[in-house]
């Protein structure tokens, strides 16, 4: 005779029988994976805005570049995959460092406003796209990893690559949070974001703060690109620009300029999109309306908290 608890647990975890637990696990996992990538990319954007008042419209293209550089080292040159990711992050940092030295620093010295900086960032994005296309082509690329392997977790299918992405993304998110909270430069960045003039007169090395912001942003952009390429299984030169809107939505949801907020905003956005497909939401929202759900949630949040989820805390700091 089958024990009672076995029968119940079988029912609960068999999605076809109408019990939502397996579905919930599956969509929760999918949401966390998507959300963690949004979060990592959104932190870079948010940090740049908080420190430099720069809306980095080129963030999506840095993401694409990161994926392609990793591909070049890991697939074309057959280097170790982790090493290739590190090289890609270093390359992202180097490009951001270079752009800071030759472009952004001069624009700031010339008192360029937020709109001017935004337009220049858009110009950088428009230049990066054809450069990426010219160097790497437009063909669909694929990392040398097994994207089909899955693990069974209470009936839900957990892809190996996505699990690895989720673990490493979580570690990265925790490290960023820790860095911002404990490291000297992290604290300086928060202080500078809160009040640049006061931070400058209190002895904070502004150039070091700005450079650190760019380096973190460049590294995170590359990392998010690799993660996205792994999650999708394949990628092409249009990968980053198609996700840009979601990144900015995550930034706005978590309060513009608040790095912690961007982390939470990204995760929530991913969860909203995926969980909306659960049957309990009016029989499941059709997948082509996922962005509608996410942006409706964003609008709702902004209606009640126009400054974003972490707006109050930001003002208080």
């Amino acid at each position: 005779m089958t024990p009672f608890y076995t029968s119940i647990s079988k029912k609960m975890f068999a999605s076809n029988e109408g019990w939502p637990v397996t579905d919930l696990i599956q969509y929760l996992f999918n949401g966390l994976v998507a959300g963690s990538i949004f979060a990592i990319a959104a932190v870079g954007i948010s940090l740049l805005y908080s420190v430099l008042r720069l809306v980095n419209f080129a963030a999506g293209d840095f993401l694409t570049l990161g994926a392609f550089i990793t591909y070049f080292f890991s697939v074309t040159l057959e280097l170790n995959f982790i090493l290739s990711i590190i090289i890609s992050m270093l390359a992202g940092m180097a490009i951001c460092w270079f752009l800071e030295l030759v472009l952004w620093r001069n624009l700031r010295r010339n008192k360029a406003g937020t709109l001017a900086l935004f337009l220049v960032a858009t110009g950088v994005a428009l230049m990066l796209r054809p450069i990426i296309q010219y160097i790497f082509g437009t063909e669909t690329r694929r990392f040398n990893v097994d994207i089909l392997k899955t693990y069974d977790f209470f009936g839900a299918r957990i892809p190996q690559t996505q699990l690895i992405v989720l673990i490493f993304a979580t570690i990265s998110i925790l490290l960023i949070a820790l860095y911002m909270a404990k490291a000297r430069v992290g604290k300086d960045m928060r202080a500078y974001a809160n009040n640049p003039s006061l931070a400058a007169v209190s002895g904070i090395n502004v150039d070091r703060v700005v450079m650190a912001t760019w380096l973190i942003s460049g590294a995170l952009g590359s990392l998010a690109g690799v993660f996205q390429g792994l999650v999708q299984g394949q990628f092409n030169n249009a990968m980053g620009e198609t996700l840009l809107l979601s990144f900015f939505a995550a930034v706005v949801l978590g309060t513009i300029g608040d790095a912690y907020g961007a982390l939470v905003g990204g995760l929530l956005l991913g969860l909203f999109m995926e969980l909306s497909q659960l049957d309990i939401f009016f029989g499941g929202v059709p997948s082509n309306y996922k962005p509608v759900v996410a942006f409706a949630a964003l609008v709702l949040v902004l209606l009640f908290k126009p400054e974003g989820l972490f707006g109050y805390r930001s003002r208080k700091v």
Binding site: S15, N16, D23, Q26, Y27, N30, V33, A34, I37, F38, Q133, G137, T138, E139, T140, R142, I147, L148, T150, R157, P159, Q162, Q228, V231, Q232, G233, Q234, N236, N237, A238, T242, L243, S246, G270, M273, E274, Q277, G284, P286, S287, N288, K290, P291
Partner: protein, 419 residues
């Protein structure tokens, strides 16, 4: 002084007369210089198709110009610019704007996709009264699109393909089987998914799940789950290669999807595409695609290979050849590059008004007939167009293809479906 004045007056009158004559009378009364632009995806996931179609259009223009010289019919037929739309509607609009405003083309061959075609037509070619012949756009709404008779296509409507997939499914799983449909969220995907749903239900079948995905989605695992939650008798996927390269692995990871029970559409009818997506995802699948119903299609392929040896071949290339040849013949027939004349003459040379058959192998004869203003039926390498009032071709031929375990695509002509 008086003599000098007279000389000046005579010279002025002579120059003015010559200038007027030059402006009003062409160098040769039969000569029309037709400028054509092409719009196809030359980069991105559909680039294989776009490059093949562009090359075929160039081959057609070169062949026509040579044949015109040989037939001693003045004028020319040139591809003046080939634009890349990346199969994206917004970029197609930019490409069409450049062709019409900067390159001043008289007609456009392309785009490849329905979304790009409808966008370019709405924003550019219809308002500017420029004739456009789409080469692989299949959305049924193109037929009824208000285009002032400027939009044509050489590829059959999905009103046909919906029926073909339904028929292929009936043969595979019976009339009352259950299918799950997955489609991309654009003009091509949603329209074909709707036509298929209607045809399948009308025939007595059931649709278990219909999942429409956004090609720009960050992940596709939830869509794959929705498409496989209830196991159907067969799946139908309406997608382009670049998106399915992401959806396919997600479907495979569900552990419930079976590619051998899956039907695709024409976009996967290409071995290079199968290789890119991966054999572990595509092997054993089937699909439907329009097929050349042209005259001696294999001979055309061989001729193109000789003329353009470096171009990779796709199944639909000849569609752009026919579109270009028909435009050139129409310009010769109407002795004009004006849209209204081209539209009228496109029907006169494509067989809509009847007339003797002239195959693509006898371009010289077609050119002479067009120059003489005759109605005739051009038999193309892809189709015998016989454009109807909507600018659609009058017939269609479809094949059912199979993807082998080695990635090779095969089809049996016995299973072809003709309309």
């Amino acid at each position: 002084m008086k003599t000098r004045r007279n000389v000046l007056a005579v010279t002025t009158v002579t120059v003015a007369t010559i200038a007027m004559l030059a402006y009003t009378v062409p160098a040769n009364a039969a000569g029309v210089d037709l400028k054509i632009g092409t719009i196809h995806p030359l980069t991105g996931g559909n680039a294989d198709y776009g490059i093949g179609l562009t090359s075929a259009a160039e081959f057609a223009a070169e062949s026509m110009t040579r044949a015109m010289k040989k037939a001693k019919v003045a004028g020319s037929c040139k591809i003046t610019a080939s634009e890349d739309d990346q199969a994206t509607p917004a970029i197609a609009v930019e490409a069409a704007t450049k062709l019409v405003k900067s390159n001043k083309v008289h007609a456009i061959v392309g785009p490849l996709t329905s979304g790009a075609t409808l966008a370019a037509a709405t924003s550019v070619t219809v308002p500017n009264n420029v004739v456009m012949i789409a080469t692989a756009a299949s959305n049924p709404s193109i037929s009824t699109f208000k285009d002032n008779d400027t939009l044509f296509r050489t590829y059959p409507s999905d009103a046909f393909q919906g029926k073909v997939i339904a028929k292929a499914l009936q043969n595979a799983i019976g009339k009352e089987g259950t299918i799950n449909i997955g489609a991309r969220n654009d003009a091509f995907g949603t329209a074909l998914a709707n036509v298929l749903t209607s045809e399948w239900v009308k025939g007595g079948g059931n649709v278990g799940a219909k999942v429409i995905w956004n090609p720009d989605g960050a992940t596709f695992d939830s869509e794959a789950k929705a498409l496989t939650d209830k196991t159907p008798d067969a799946w139908v996927i309406v997608d382009f290669p670049d998106t399915f390269a992401k959806v396919g692995p997600a479907l495979k990871r569900t552990g419930k999807w079976d590619p051998t029970k899956t039907f695709f559409t024409e976009a996967m009818n290409n071995e290079a595409v199968i290789k890119t997506i991966g054999l572990d995802v595509m092997a054993g699948s089937k699909g439907t695609a329009a097929k050349s119903m042209g005259f001696e299609a294999d001979k055309w392929k061989a001729a193109r290979k000789t003329a353009k040896p470096s171009t990779k071949e796709t199944f639909v290339d000849a569609s752009a050849w026919d579109a270009t040849v028909l435009l050139c013949l129409a310009a010769i027939h109407g002795k004009s590059t004006k849209a209204a004349v081209l539209s009228k003459s496109l029907r006169a040379v494509s067989g809509s008004n009847g007339g003797k058959l002239i195959p693509w192998t006898k371009l010289g004869n077609a050119i002479k007939a067009a120059a003489a203003g005759q109605n005739f039926t051009y038999q193309g390498a892809w189709t015998t167009a016989k454009f109807d009032v909507n600018g659609d071709t009058s017939g269609a031929l479809f094949q059912i293809y199979n993807v082998g375990t080695d990635g090779k695509i095969t089809s049996d002509a016995k299973n072809d479906i003709k309309f």
